[in-house]
Symmetry: C2
Subunit: 472 residues, 2 copies
């Protein structure tokens, strides 16, 4: 089904139907994405101020058969926010829909429009004595509509779930231009198919989220942080199970760090202090957030003692101050930047069943060794089975030297993930980058159901064409 380009004439038609200043020509920033893999086509930019205006835009795009690319904070890592191919699209930015419509601390609910920046939601929750637990590197510029459209993950998933688990209701414009008023604040609602969960993670291909009712949590009164040296990668899982047995849901982060991460920090960011004399092969950063009645440092001491006895850990540090806790987090949070400075040959955002993690790490290393001599930095949200498994050149070589191997490396890693029942996109989504991976690895019954749903809800194929599913 061929789409028409968003032409100046189309822009004029839109401009006549919408308030002044809604329609514009997109600046360069709307055509870029963080990793520089895709250059978007310009087309026309729309910056609506209400769901009603979004509905008008989608309806008119449908009539004109012009593709619509929803645009949030532009921080996505898989090219879901730019259209490098096909007819030039209508870029629909939610940046002007930034109202926090409601904060209801007693209900633990916050209602925000799609364009609110994630950090602003965190702040509004904090001001109300509550926690909005979605937390990720791009939170200073990512917008909640995009976080939901991509079902964002981040560091709080272990305790609080993915973005979809933090959403009670949605307002959205469907591909036919109808507004779905689904902004419910209900914890229980079994009236028909769960359209909310269908739109979340659909990356704008089934409609545009315009507002969301979000679930807040009590703020943990006290926080404890530890950096523990573990026996091996397998010990991470046993330690996690032990921690959850001892401390239940209070375990809020459980992040794996490999020696390679410390080495990259030493190499590229010497200002980040590493608190070990000998760099450990494997370590985990654990955070617990407890109620006032429980001393988190004491709980972590008890965990450390039990884990030492079980031979799971050999050494470790329990933060004795908030500052020391932040220092531990600085290490973890600086690793992606260190990676960027080194320059990866290939990066993988994968998940496998928890029990398969040690096997994955061992086997992936062996298979990659056959392809060449690489440095591997494997780190991330091990408590969720989600690893960032990134492959780097040896010192003295550059990523460009391995350019021709990139596809083989990616296939090697992704094939193994698939064999182990894992996912080749754990938290970043499919976008345009992984459309081929989705076709290769997704169960055929699911893929055909996805295509049938897409065709049913968006028969003209105008919504984010080419993302998630190949445009037909």
């Amino acid at each position: 089904m061929d789409l028409n380009p968003a032409t100046p004439a189309f822009a004029q038609t839109l401009a006549a139907a919408l308030p002044e200043g809604t329609i514009d020509t997109p600046e360069a920033r709307y055509l870029e994405e963080p990793r520089g893999r895709y250059a978007g086509q310009a087309g026309v930019l729309a910056r609506p101020r209400s769901a009603q205006e979004v509905a008008t835009l989608i309806r008119m795009a449908g009539e004109a058969r012009v593709g619509v690319v929803p645009y949030g904070g532009g921080t996505g890592l898989v090219g879901g926010q730019v259209a490098p191919e096909g007819a030039a699209p209508l870029i629909l930015s939610l940046e002007r829909m930034t109202a926090i419509r409601d904060v209801l601390p007693e209900e633990n609910v916050l209602v925000a429009e799609a364009g609110v920046i994630l950090a602003d939601i965190q702040k509004a929750a904090e001001d109300a004595g509550r926690l909005f637990p979605l937390s990720l590197a791009a939170e200073g510029s990512a917008r909640i509509g995009g976080n939901l459209a991509t079902n964002a993950g981040g560091t709080g998933v272990l305790r609080y779930g993915n973005a979809r688990d933090l959403c009670l209701g949605l307002e959205a414009v469907l591909p036919d231009g109808q507004i779905w008023h689904g902004l419910t604040r209900l914890r229980k609602n079994n009236t028909g198919y769960d359209l909310r969960h269908l739109l979340i993670g659909a990356e704008g291909t089934l409609g545009v989220i315009t507002a969301a009712a979000l679930k807040l949590s009590p703020r943990p009164a006290r926080t404890g942080t530890a950096l523990l040296v573990i026996r091996d990668a397998a010990a991470a899982l046993s330690l996690l199970a032990l921690a959850r047995d001892q401390m239940g849901e209070t375990v809020s982060a459980f992040e794996l760090i490999h020696r390679q991460g410390f080495d990259f920090l030493a190499e590229t960011m010497p200002e980040v202090r590493i608190p070990f004399d000998t760099i450990p092969e494997w370590s985990v950063l654990i955070e617990v957030g407890t109620s006032a009645a429980l001393d988190p440092a004491q709980a972590l001491e008890a965990l450390f003692a039990a884990a030492l006895e079980d031979g799971l850990v050999s050494d470790g540090l329990i933060a004795q101050s908030a500052q020391q806790g932040r220092d531990f987090w600085t290490i973890r949070e600086s690793i992606p930047e260190a990676n960027r400075r080194i320059g990866s040959v290939s990066s993988h955002d994968i998940s496998v069943p928890l029990g398969a993690i040690p096997g994955f790490i061992g086997e992936a290393g062996e298979r990659l060794a056959k392809l060449g001599d690489f440095r591997i930095n494997c780190f991330g949200h091990v408590g969720d089975g989600n690893l960032h498994y990134n492959v780097f050149p040896q010192p003295g070589r550059s990523r460009a030297d391995h350019k021709n191997q990139r596809d083989a490396i990616k296939t090697c890693v992704h094939d193994l993930v698939h064999e182990l029942g894992g996912s080749v996109s754990a938290e970043h989504g499919v976008g345009r980058l992984k459309v081929g991976d989705l076709e290769r690895y997704t169960d055929p019954a699911k893929l055909s159901a996805m295509r049938a749903i897409k065709a049913a809800l968006d028969p003209r194929g105008i919504m984010n064409p080419g993302a998630v599913l190949r445009a037909v």
Copy 2:
């Protein structure tokens, strides 16, 4: 689209394609449902032993254009499991698919076939030192496939979520007979539309769940229970917020009890001991489950003291033994039976936003008073905004005396719920009972999207025809 009846000839065709004993004539129990509102048509009974056999049955039903009614434990309260109208169906019972395929305590995962009885899953989790927190009155006969198909709720939702929140992956047969192998154990997986959440809560209208990967939790080491007398219904919400501030996620149940519930118990089940000299107008049952490091009774004492100071509670009991805790639960769990013995005129499984609960209770009482003189028992999972709001005749009168008022009462309650942004089916689903309510109260954009999805995935309309959406 007219369906054909499941005839003896069709039964023979199926029998020839499937192992001996798979195809049968349904006994009466497959045609009944707990509230006796619907009598199902007999048709043909199939009891497959594998997803492959389910796929064969669905494919052959599709070719013959025979409707398929999936059947779990038969405990549903909205008639989703029986077909009283239209062509006689193929009743597809999952009762022989009862394998627990895997228990992985370190991963907190259990993989069960759809026919496993909920209590057996709870038991298997317990044997592995884990908790499967889905808990509801029918757990001794309800099967997990049905629990998921209806997104069951129950008493553990406040802490652990609804059935959908406890499911990591599904194996299911789609309406075209394809098996979707989606039995992932992943915590994070952003590869395409979330088919799992679409099938969960679809009540068998988009396919048949044949197995599920379920999320287990650590077992709380210690449990505390309290029965607190609250100032009024509004105080329940403030008390809940206070409890969660003090104790975070350890609050695992928060159940509202009205004086009427105690009165019904005294009237019909005098063996249930009521631990108050003066029956309180409103009370709440609170359960907390903590790690070993925290004394739950002490935490409840602290909550009681703070709530007393805030004027939220006036009296209360904190269980001093496990037995006393169970006694408190016996009160709560006996209320539905007492209700049955009294005989309701109309029962409502509704939810409203937490903040709207006090207003709902007040306004519903006033509106109903205009319709007649009733006794109202309002109780339930107030922490989830989910109330069972049931209307009874005054003493000396029977439900039959009010038969003609039933529809008016239901509409009165449901209209108010809808005005308040609530749901007319919080946890029981739509089934056949609430198809009209769904049409009346559901947002038109959502309803048309639901119909489009149904038509796309099940173009012949064979899957549980007449449930959720009117058969077309």
